[in-house]
């Protein structure tokens, strides 16, 4: 069944219909309205002296700003990486047979989702005040070693782990949804082959759950990018928002520097969105070529995921969670 018409003019449909389309004046009206509004907005942005586009241009590439961008990226990806590891562990604990594991995981998620990230970060910042020395030992018994809190746990580490702990609670729920979306028959089959629980998780469940886990995790990463601006609560004062507002205050030009921060966040988000798009395509690709032969494991990217998609052993409609 081919649907293309041959260019030679011999139309296989002799009585092809050439009807006029339904008139859609609304589209034209909407397009004009949007154009006018966009022009007004552009005019309002460009002609308004207060934005000081010259200052924006000047400081956009300022070394302090660029450094702020770097710190923001380090915090975003660092904390997401830690959070992913924690989240997988938490999600597995949540499904474990061991009631202790289950409750620990539940309590962790309950606490970190239940309190504002800003409050948590302030708390981490106060750790050195609350506990000037930290030690490892037996409760009420001997200590093995101890250290001064503020010497080891600098603001950077506190911020990094503060963000990661909070994020892990949200990601854990995403991972859990992913694990639950895999057909229980998969576990049964693996069990019947004599595979142990750990192997079943690593070899059978997780690879299939990824398809559900990855898209909302991309979403979380974009969210994290902007959440990093809250580390001023620790206080950590290198990242983009703080860096730009500090310059703004110093030069008495807060508005152009806010614009700079916004532009940088937009740029990074755009890049992340492109990345997310490709990841989602990779993990969620439908199944078109049902009989095409693929090289063992070396087929076109997405072959495995396409196969999972086609097998229908994973459901998609798990609730997605978004950080506030």
């Amino acid at each position: 069944m081919t649907t293309q018409t041959s260019p030679s003019g011999s139309d296989p449909v002799p009585n092809r219909i050439h009807a006029r389309p339904v008139p859609r004046p609304g589209r034209l009206v909407a397009a004009v309205a949007v154009l006018v509004l966009a022009a007004m907005a552009a005019n309002a942005l460009i002609t308004n002296e207060n934005f000081r586009w010259d200052v924006v241009w000047l400081y956009l590439r300022d070394i302090v700003v660029i450094r702020g961008v770097m710190w923001t990226l380090v915090l975003t990806f660092g904390s997401m990486a830690i959070a992913v590891v924690l989240a997988v562990a938490l999600a597995m604990m949540r499904r474990s047979d061991n009631p202790v594991m289950r409750s620990v995981s539940w309590a962790w998620i309950w606490f970190f989702r239940g309190t504002p990230i800003y409050t948590q970060l302030i708390f981490w910042g106060l750790l050195a005040v609350l506990y000037p020395r930290l030690s490892l030992g037996i409760p009420f018994g001997p200590e093995f070693f101890s250290f001064r809190t503020d010497e080891v746990l600098t603001a950077f580490w506190l911020a990094l782990f503060g963000l990661a702990f909070n994020e892990s609670a949200y990601l854990a729920e995403i991972v859990r949804a992913g694990l639950t979306s895999v057909d229980p028959g998969q576990t049964e089959a693996a069990k019947a082959l004599g595979m142990k629980d750990g192997k079943i998780m690593r070899r059978v469940i997780l690879p299939q759950a990824m398809r559900v886990i990855v898209p909302p995790t991309g979403n979380e990463t974009i969210s994290m990018l902007k959440t990093t601006s809250l580390v001023v609560a620790v206080p950590l004062t290198f990242e983009l928002t703080y860096a730009t507002s500090a310059i703004g205050n110093r030069t008495f030009l807060p508005i152009p520097l806010l614009v700079i921060a916004a532009l940088w966040y937009l740029l990074i988000t755009s890049i992340l969105m492109v990345g997310q798009h490709y990841l989602e395509q990779y993990y969620g690709r439908g199944f078109g070529t049902s009989t095409r032969r693929r090289g063992r494991g070396k087929g076109p990217a997405g072959g495995k995921q396409a196969a999972i998609a086609a097998a229908g052993t994973v459901q998609d409609d798990v609730n997605k969670d978004v950080t506030p």
């Binding site: 057909d183 028959g185 998969q186 049964e188 089959a189 693996a190 069990k191 019947a192 082959l193 004599g194 595979m195 142990k196 629980d197 192997k199 070899r203 059978v204 690879p207 299939q208 199944f287 049902s290 009989t291 095409r292 032969r293 693929r294 090289g295 063992r296 494991g297 072959g303 495995k304 995921q305 396409a306 196969a307 999972i308 086609a310 097998a311 052993t313």
Partner: protein, 271 residues
Amino acid sequence: MSAPTDAAAVPAASTDMVSVRAVHKVFGHGHDAVHVLKGVDLDVPRGSVTVILGPSGSGKSTLLRCINELEEITGGSVVVGGDLMGYRKDDKGVLHRLHPKVVAKQRSRIGMVFQRFHLFPHMTAVENIMEAPVQVRGLTKKAARQRALELIERVGLSDRTDHYPAQLSGGQQQRVAIARALAMDPELMLFDEPTSALDPELVGEVLSVMQDLARSGMTMIVVTHEIGFAREVADHVVFMDDGVIVESGPPRRVLDDPREQRTKDFLAHVL
């Protein structure tokens, strides 16, 4: 087959591959409890084929799942290849639940084939078959692949080695699933309605693989509605209803000359 606990668990003279004794299975607790198996006894001699028939909900799948410990039994005992499944009996006769790792090991000697195949969708046919030998037995990839290719040939799918399950027909998927189970060199194979999810024209290819397997001397327990298969391949036919075995015996006896009314009614429906 040589675990030290055997002697305590099994009568020494047993030649049975499987012996199920007074097995009860209750799902849930209290008011929600469902009593699914109500004292099942079943012996399956080595190298024999037992076909289990019975109406929907009679507990056929549950019985199979109890035999390979996918379900924990509530009462009675299951002995496979001389090993008490799921428990260890100490000198005083007290039962101790076995560690999941040991249970997994027990299971690895029993192959199971499911109605809905349950192949791993992210692995090709050959990878599906290699998975357990590599991950459970610790075989090298090379050796496992060698063996997988032999098995895939045995089920007649040499030209589908690198296809993903979604690229295979139901009958082909089920044959891969059989090869996957055989890759662990099981001493017992359980089949739970292996052809029920297949289009009629694909049933034959799966049954013929199973028939070859039976001929090779594999001990098999097959839940199926294929009366023709039961008649031709089975050594024993067991009819289950409402959690008990109502009638059992050689196929001709049970299928052509049933004694129990419930068996007669059931056969009248499926024939």
